[in-house]
Amino acid sequence: MSATPDGGPSHQESRPARVHRSLGTTLAPYLFVLPAMCIVVVFVFIAALNTFRLAFTDSTLLKPGKFVGLQNFVELFHDEYFLTALLNSTLYVVCVVPFMVILPLILANLVAGNSRVMGFFRTSFYTPVVMSAVVVGMIWSNLLDPKGLVNSLLESLHISKEPIPFLSDRWLILFSSMFVTIWLGLGYYMVIYLTALANIDDSLYEAAELDGAGPIRQFVSVTMPGVRSTMLLILMLSTIAAFRVFNEVYVLTNSTAGPGAQDITMSMLIQREGTGIMARTGYASAISLVVLVIVGAMLILQSVVERWVGGDNA
């Protein structure tokens, strides 16, 4: 543990000059963290406890409700929308995460270096990250429209004769949203990888080159092992983000969650059940609790795997 300057000197000298700290000095640390702690306690801890409590009640926005045991959870597993949402959010994870872990790493490799050109590519790849998913969703709804740019390009290249229903087919909507998610996230994970890549010892590449390893071979046997704990971090971050997806699907389906709400995700279901004048806050909290438990399980799994794999080699 590193000694802080405040406490440090008094440990080293047997009789420090200022033994009597004023009350203000003793209380100071607590006063400094108090405002932040207030917000966190109210909006995270009390909210989390309340979610847990509500999940076992039949409360709505208008009435506090009473304890109903596991009834909400029994209902959940008979609720078609819940099962669809669970399927969609899980599919989202399965399809999006591999791209999020691999593509940004390849990109980071390609744009590493100090040249101006690479700096330009880095900045332009990162730019979409600062954009809101709503606006990006609007842009892609324009592009993926039956008569939009993507379809007219495909038609003029004679790849497809009929417009592809990217925004009206149950599965294509989901895949289109996944594409937008990947498109939005690439730059962010790329920058995380860039920091990790900078820590790989150059001599490893030189050694590999001497052994006659080509670029692909070097990528697999030097780069990937070198950034394995970062890959794990991104695996975790992108898994949780994909499971929580809301904006992209909401915007691409015009808030309808697709035909017959078949493209609903867990977060969309929470928003649907838990808001509005008819909100079933108890039931929505039960869904929320399922999300919390699943994400918690992912985090535990990740930390177990991380201990097993170990850190990036320096």
Partner: protein
């Protein structure tokens, strides 16, 4: 890397980079072209063409006429300002106590704050709304900003920043009899201005782009933020891609300019954000 002459590798590298560039930037170029296309243009032409035949600014005027975009921007800016001030102030104070002072319970508090980072907001968002409602802040801009006033990642950033200040600076001040508060304001805070800027910038981008939470909190149109307003615009103008494009451009411009001005802080923030460890 290790490539200096034109090799196959380099050709492949640049081909991929240029394709990625087109994929990431192309959509914006197309939206700008759409937004500038007038009634004489066929926006659905096969094959598509980029340069408008009858360029016009009418689409932008129409968006401003039909949707109170400036009002939404103003609302968003108010939320963003509250969020910036709150995040910078609260995380700087907490970061100072956690990174610079020694006190009982410090490690516990730090762990508690870290825990909040892994709780997905969707899991507690309905309860957050009920809390906001119970203090009668539903449908207010303050209600949007309040739960986001503290970000665990910002506190980590500030804690690390305070930890890296050389001890000698403070020791000298202590000799001169400066108390904790004076040390905080006069010695430490000036040293971490860069990180405070990073925190402020991320708070701004977060507030500017937030969607689900304002969607839940706000029911009255006069308190719409830009993202909710735009989502509504998309529903209204679904028949005319030109207007959707114009709306998208109008709302993207500020954040892209903001990014261009502060990009060094963005990269700095990501590098410091505990990711490097």
């Amino acid at each position: 890397m290790h490539r200096n002459k034109i090799t196959v590798g380099k050709v492949v590298q640049y081909t991929i980079l240029i394709l990625m560039f087109l994929l990431l930037v192309g959509p914006f170029v197309w939206e700008i072209s759409l937004a500038l296309k007038g009634p004489g243009d066929n926006v659905y032409a096969v094959p598509p063409y980029l340069v408008p035949k009858t360029p016009t600014l009418e689409n932008f005027k129409q968006v401003f006429r039909q949707v109170p975009i400036m009002h939404y921007v103003l609302n968003t800016l108010i939320v963003a300002c509250i969020s910036i001030v709150g995040n910078v102030a609260l995380s700087t104070m907490a970061g100072y106590a956690l990174g610079r002072l020694k006190w009982k319970g410090r490690d516990t508090i730090f762990t508690i704050l870290m825990l909040t980072m892994v709780i997905p907001v969707e899991g507690i968002i309905i309860s957050q709304f009920l809390i906001i409602k119970s203090i009668h802040l539903q449908n207010t801009l303050l209600g949007i900003a309040l739960p986001g006033l503290v970000g665990a990642i910002n506190i980590i950033l500030m804690t690390n920043a305070f930890k890296s200040i050389p001890k000698e600076l403070e020791e000298a001040a202590q000799m001169d009899g400066a108390n904790v508060w004076q040390q905080f304001f006069h010695i430490c805070v000036p040293q971490v201005k860069g990180t405070m800027t990073v925190v402020g910038i991320f708070a701004f981008v977060g507030a500017w782009n937030d969607f689900l939470w304002p969607l839940i909190v706000i029911s009255d149109e006069k308190n719409y933020t830009l993202t909710i307003g735009l989502n509504r615009l998309k529903g209204m103008f679904i028949q005319d891609p030109r207007l959707i494009a114009a709306g998208a451009i109008v709302s993207l411009l500020p954040i892209v300019i903001f990014f261009a001005c502060f990009q060094k802080y963005f990269f700095q923030g990501l590098e410091q954000g505990g990711i490097k460890e």
